[in-house]
């Protein structure tokens, strides 16, 4: 990887940290510890399920919100504030800037997820008093959540490369919501006929399939996740992310920075 990409990524990470993005961890910690104490008092035999379900859903939601709201400003804010001028007037290629920004945000989310994962395991230990073998599947669910973040980051960057922050937020969040029901959309496409079938099928394959990446419920119920799904999801998420980043680069390479 080019050294310039690493420098841009580290600066993006530093920006997120200094803009107090990681403060969300405090809210997450409060939410989870409160839930663990409450669940410990009111649930019988399902404490583990509730804590894992709530914890992983919170990790996903917090991360998606951060990925969307930081991602949409990554390029547009730099253009608006003109900080980009002094970067691109140096020997930095435009694609390096986009890729560097992406890795910076992805790194921020990975660190964020790492700390939140510690919180989830701590809450689980508090309510269950020990770990069991199926708890290792929580790591797989966390891995899928990180894959989900990569897609959301790349989509936010794609929209940010040509649109305003507000519209980018609307587009990215809408895609996240639609993508969360991608399996239902595919089911609808399968049952439809004529032009509706074509449109629904196209939409089902264009929107990111976040429902395939959501194994939170299965993991909470201590069901195993097949290795085939891990491989499929890895390939799918990396491919989708790469395509969205290519789109962002193609648009940004042609953009006049007025």
């Amino acid at each position: 990887m080019s050294a310039r990409i690493i420098h841009i990524a580290s600066n993006t990470f530093r920006e997120a940290v200094r803009d107090r993005v990681l403060y969300n961890l405090i809210a997450f910690a409060l939410l989870l510890s409160g839930a663990a104490i409450l669940v410990g008092q009111i649930s019988i035999d399902i404490e583990r399920l509730v804590v894992v379900d709530l914890g992983l859903s919170a990790v996903s939601l917090f991360g998606v919100v951060i990925a969307t709201f930081i991602g949409i400003g990554l390029v547009s804010k730099e253009i608006e504030k003109r900080t980009l001028y002094t970067v691109l007037s140096r020997p930095v290629r435009r694609w390096e800037f986009i890729v560097g920004k992406f890795f910076g945000l992805a790194g921020t989310l990975a660190v964020n997820t790492f700390f939140m994962a510690i919180g989830v395991f701590a809450a689980l230990l508090y309510v269950a008093h020990s770990f069991s073998r199926p708890d290792a599947m929580i790591l797989v669910a966390l891995y899928f959540i990180i894959l989900e973040f990569l897609i959301v980051c790349s989509l936010a960057l794609l929209f940010s490369s040509f649109s305003t922050p507000l519209l980018s937020a609307v587009f990215a969040f809408s895609l996240f919501v639609i993508g969360s029901f991608a399996e239902d959309l595919r089911g609808f496409a399968y049952m439809s006929h004529g032009i509706t079938k074509w449109v629904a099928t196209a939409a089902a394959f264009i929107v990111p399939n976040f429902s395939a990446l959501n194994v939170i419920s299965a993991v909470a119920h201590q069901q195993p996740v097949a290795m085939q799904l891990v491989l499929q999801n890895s390939f799918y998420a990396l491919f989708y992310t790469a395509m969205a980043l290519c789109g962002a680069v193609l648009i940004f390479e042609r953009r006049n920075l007025k």
């Binding site: 310039r4 003109r82 001028y85 691109l88 007037s89 140096r90 020997p91 290629r93």
Partner: protein, 313 residues
Amino acid sequence: MPAIEILGLEKTYLVGFWRKRPKRALRPLHLTVEEGEIFGFLGPNGAGKTTTLKMLMGLVFPTAGTARLLGHEWTDPQVKAQIGFLPEQPYFYDYLTAHELLDYYGQLSGVPAKDRKPRIEEVLAKVGLTDVKGVQLRKFSKGMLQRAGIAQAILHNPKLVFFDEPMSGLDPLGRREVRDLMEQLKHEGKTVFFSTHILSDAEALCDRVAIIHKGELRGVGAVEELTSSVQGKVEVIWQGTQIPASMKALSAECHVTGDRVRAVIQENQQDAAIDALRRERMRLIAITPLRTSLEAYFVEKLQHSQTTAGTSV
């Protein structure tokens, strides 16, 4: 080898809701700047100065034309390692300190790690920001940001430096310091290209200037050439309050100020004027060619272009 060769760069934006209405920001521009020059790019607001600079920096793509910087294609990323750029009214990552900002830019410009720290200290001292190097930029005043902008433009020791309105936001002392800095860059053999609409700065600093108005080049040349003697007139100054009749006979426009008389005569009459003052035993202080100011030349060019545009309609 010229430092900058602009070969017909032009820019037309498509404006309007459907982006169908063309708006010409820059007509084909041909300009050459030699190495080691301080070159002033003058024009009123909206003349096309910033558009030209942005095209040279690769921030805006030209509709047509090309350019060469330091003998290479201006799109070559490696050329950019030898170029410094200060944008107009710069704004930087405000969560960084001045030192961190320069370190980041040094990394992007490929300044080796071992050279970065001493170089950063050197440029911070040069722009007078050493005392605030650990302060986040969000606490900087406009003038301090301008200084930080100048520091980042010269950090990597570029051969060619572009400044877009470098005096903007600076107090008189700051402007003087920037002028001194530009002269220092010239003495170091660097080429300085700067845009401004403050003509006194350009007149004091530039070897050559170009004047641009409404996206079109209106004039280019050495400051001395553009401000050369007005219709061949000279200014004669002598001590005293008397105006000899022989001087009046030369049709001189004379003005008495304190114990000095200032007269403007035709250049071919200066020998006669010296003889006349000698005969009257008056002390001659100075004879200098009367020059028009750069401002007068600038205004004349702008008025001329407006008249031309008016008659052509």
